[in-house]
């Protein structure tokens, strides 16, 4: 029960944050799942920063104050500026709201599959003890340390390794007084999966393209390893889900050019950055491309176009500072350190690594597959990611001209950069974990979730070009014109 209360508080805080930042869509069906993501990010960022920078452990009064701040700020803003445009009052026109995807005969089985997987994830995820698979999880142990107020050197390492969101978000109910039940970690991840699917479907439906939402949900639930991960407590699922949600708004921004979508995407990317140690690296290229896209789209406004994005980026700087305070500078950026060490290593070290990895692109000694072969098999053959990368590769090859035309170029570039990062990690930085199949498959989960959302948008716009661009009222778009080409012109009423 306390968990459910905590979840409601988290969600309400997130919705309050969205409203206070004027990032709400004005539709609760979208704002509630988005609020869950935003609430977790806000709560984790604030409590982690306060604990690391001010030394105040997460306790009930602090948690309640942190959660209450966004709704209070929103109320204050409404009181001080009653004429404020209600959040969600987007000036960008959208297609008519539509909840039933077309054709129904095609989407009904896809929706059924998505719902069946979701039900299985909820039931199985809430039936399996947290410790299965590998005894304990850093990400499941970190929230317990948070709730217990343990903050010694080793505990700080564990919490920093987990990242603020996996460490602090599941601990809320315990901080509020519930007895520690590791199951809250499972339940938080299951709820996040539910929120992700709800967000994708609701957002697309509200904007007149339910096919994109259900397509994304189908693509995500067709990733077997992701389905398994969301029933567990590994943080790759957190990262994948934040990234998937962020890509829904990156795609939307590319297609509609509503600056609020860019801000929502940034919020979610900053959330992704607060998951695990590599979350920051995964989110970084997408953030850079998002800001570049904003600057390009709003180039007439000059630097002012980016002003709106400065506060959240600065707030994230506080989280980084908190991490440095918690574990020191070298411990705060372990991947950068590993990359630097790998880059500068030469002679014996590089030769050793090559020996471990085997010759690039070929089988190593004793005809064992090499690191490239394993990576390619992980994408296409091993089945952990279903057929996603087959479909993505063919779609990009055959629909390449549409990518730019349908406003998917920037988000596609972000996807490409994240994929390149993942590949570099698997092939160059940590080839040993690829050779032993240790992390190569799950390291592909975040980029696969993002790819599933992006691919769905690409295929839907390729099938329904009119869904790509919002058509301003009173104007007929290219799609409508080409659709009526050759037909007799209608006159009169």
């Amino acid at each position: 029960m306390t968990f459910l209360v905590a979840a409601v508080l988290m969600c309400a805080s997130g919705v309050g944050l969205l409203r206070a930042l004027r990032l709400g869509t004005g539709r609760l069906v979208v704002d509630v799942p988005l609020g869950w993501f935003a609430g977790m990010a806000w709560f984790a960022a604030a409590t982690f920063s306060i604990q690391a920078l001010l030394g105040a452990p997460a306790n009930a009064p602090l948690a309640i104050a942190v959660l209450a701040l966004p709704p209070a700020a929103w109320c204050l803003l409404r009181w001080r500026r009653p004429g404020l445009v209600p959040s969600g009052g987007s000036e960008v026109p959208v297609l008519e709201r539509r909840w039933m995807p077309r054709p129904a005969w095609l989407f009904a089985p896809m929706a059924t599959w998505s719902i069946v997987v979701l039900a299985a994830v909820v039931l199985h995820g809430l039936s399996t003890p947290t410790h299965t698979d590998d005894a304990y999880r850093v990400r499941a142990y970190a929230p317990i340390l948070v709730a217990a107020g343990t903050w010694n050197g080793q505990a700080r390492d564990v919490i920093a390794m987990a990242g603020p969101i996996p460490a602090f978000a599941p601990a809320l109910a315990w901080v509020l007084g519930a007895p520690v039940d590791p199951f809250h970690v499972n339940a938080t991840i299951v709820l996040t999966f539910l929120a992700l699917l709800a967000l994708l479907v609701a957002l697309a439906s509200e904007r007149g393209s339910p096919e994109a939402g259900w397509g994304a949900a189908f693509a995500l639930t067709s990733l077997p390893l992701l389905a398994y991960h969301v029933t567990s407590t590994y943080s790759d699922a957190w990262l994948a889900m934040y990234l998937g949600a962020a890509f829904a708004f990156l795609v939307a921004f590319g297609q509609r050019r509503d600056i609020a979508d860019a801000a929502r995407a940034l919020l979610l990317l900053l959330g992704a950055a607060m998951v695990k140690r590599e979350g920051e690296l995964v989110a970084f290229p997408a953030v850079v491309l998002l800001l570049a896209q904003v600057a390009w789209v709003r180039r007439a406004e000059g630097v002012r176009s980016l002003a709106r994005f400065a506060p959240p980026c600065a707030a994230y700087g506080v989280v980084v500072a908190a991490r440095v305070a918690a574990v020191g500078l070298p411990g705060a950026f372990p991947f950068l350190r590993a990359a630097a060490e790998r880059a500068v290593s030469s002679g014996g070290a590089a030769a050793n690594a090559t020996a471990v990895a085997g010759p690039v692109g070929a089988g190593g000694p004793a005809s064992e597959p090499g690191v490239w072969a394993i990576f390619v098999a992980a994408l296409f053959s091993d089945g952990n990611l279903g057929l996603l990368w087959w479909v993505l590769a063919v779609s990009v090859a055959l629909l390449f001209p549409r990518i730019s035309k349908d406003g998917l170029a920037w988000s596609g570039a972000a996807l490409g950069l994240i994929f390149a990062e993942t590949a570099a990690s698997a092939l160059w930085l940590f080839p040993q974990f690829t050779l032993d199949h240790g992390t190569v498959h799950r390291s592909l989960l975040p980029v696969s979730a993002a790819a599933a959302v992006w691919l769905s948008a690409l295929l839907v716009t390729a099938c329904h070009p009119e869904s790509a661009k919002a058509i301003p009222p009173g104007r007929r778009g290219d799609a409508a014109r080409s659709g009526s080409k050759g037909r007799p012109r209608r006159r009169g009423g």
């Binding site: 399996t128 299965t132 343990t150 080793q154 053959s381 089945g383 279903g386 199949h437 390729a462």
Partner: protein, 351 residues
């Protein structure tokens, strides 16, 4: 579940009385009026002289906490019992029946014999045994082997979090399901595009790719659903201790012992876990489920013990309660059992 207890089609009965003397075992077996009995205290390995068996059905009578792992072996070398995919089942106390598919176990071939591995603490009496031998015809045998692998249930184990075992389409030819579906997708997409071009007189790739993707992904999903269904647990429990008590997926005693310890050890008490030195899973699981109680792994001879990630550190004299779990050494002096699951799994306190 029903399939597991239904008679095994094509199997023939094995006479236990004649068979008992030919079983290779790491522990003494005894012939009882009910069947072949074995006491399990840690682990027992059994080689069944049934060369070429592809499936077994065993009727048993079990007491205590015992998990059965099955695979196949050759000669006198003991196979790694927990190799992926790890085939295992808890033998519930009382009479029961298990059906063991051997073809989906690692390295199975027609010239190997079944290998059974019993872990835990208890007694098992095999009261009936039926075996089905692989077809003599190599083609029929390969077809049956492919069929078994294609629909083989996913076996969740310690490494499933890293990768789910490869779905095979024709295992005898190393043909993977995803490759088959992937090429089918490409063929359907290109064929659809060409068909669109032929009928509508223009190129349009989107619908062809989308339809091909949905069809092939759905086919892959059906296979995944069939394979994953046996591994699902769909009855949530809100009580953490009840959840632990019924969790015996990787070890028959660990879940019930964790639940017992949570009830027997106070929230402020400091805990040591005394387990086998090679057992990383046991002490970590127990300490995790007892958190936030300070909990460490007891390693004989060390002046200070360390817990998960080194967060907790305790000296021997600081430990209030000790959890004994299949440790090789006797209980340290000064501790006596206070809550007992069985002789190898219990909670002890200072005298």
């Amino acid at each position: 579940m029903l399939l597991a207890v239904a008679p095994l089609p094509g199997a023939s009965d094995v006479s236990l009385r004649e068979f008992a003397a030919r079983i290779g075992s790491t522990s003494p077996l005894r012939l009882t009026p009910d069947g072949i009995g074995v006491d399990v205290d840690g682990w027992v390995g059994l080689f069944l002289p049934l060369t070429g068996a592809e499936a077994l059905q065993i009727d048993y009578l079990s007491a205590g906490f015992v998990m059965l792992t099955w695979s196949s072996g050759r000669g006198n070398s003991t196979p790694m019992p927990h190799s992926q995919p790890w085939h295992r089942q808890i033998l519930a106390p009382g009479p029961g029946r298990v059906t063991l598919e051997l073809r989906t176990t690692p390295l199975w071939s027609v010239d190997r014999v079944p290998f059974l591995f019993l872990e835990g603490t208890g007694t098992v009496i095999v009261t009936g045994l039926r075996a089905r031998t692989a077809a003599r015809d190599p083609v029929a045998r390969a077809d049956a082997f492919d069929e078994a692998l294609r629909w083989a249930p996913i076996r969740v184990d310690h490494t499933t979090i890293n990768l789910i075992d490869l779905p095979a389409w024709m295992a005898s030819r190393n043909l993977l399901l995803q490759d088959v579906l992937g090429f089918a997708f490409v063929g359907l997409a290109v064929g659809g595009m060409l068909a669109w071009r032929a009928t509508k007189r223009r190129w349009r790739a989107g619908p062809a790719i989308a339809m091909a993707a949905i069809a092939t992904v759905a086919a892959g999903n059906v296979v995944f659903a069939v394979r994953a269904a046996p591994a699902l647990t769909l009855v949530p429990s809100l009580d953490p201790d009840a959840r632990l008590r019924k969790w015996t997926a990787f070890d028959p005693e660990l879940g019930p012992l964790a639940a017992l310890a949570r009830g027997a050890i106070g929230p402020k008490e400091r805990v040591g876990v005394f387990a086998k030195a090679s057992d990383w899973f046991g002490w970590e699981t127990l300490c995790f489920n007892l958190a936030p109680r300070p909990c460490v792994q007891v390693v004989t001879g060390l002046p200070e013990y360390s817990g998960l990630h080194g967060v907790d550190r305790l000296r021997p004299d600081q430990i209030d309660a000790l959890i004994f779990f299949h440790a090789e050494a006797p209980l340290p002096p000064g501790f006596v059992p206070s809550a007992i699951l069985d002789k190898n799994a219990f909670v002890a306190r200072r005298r």
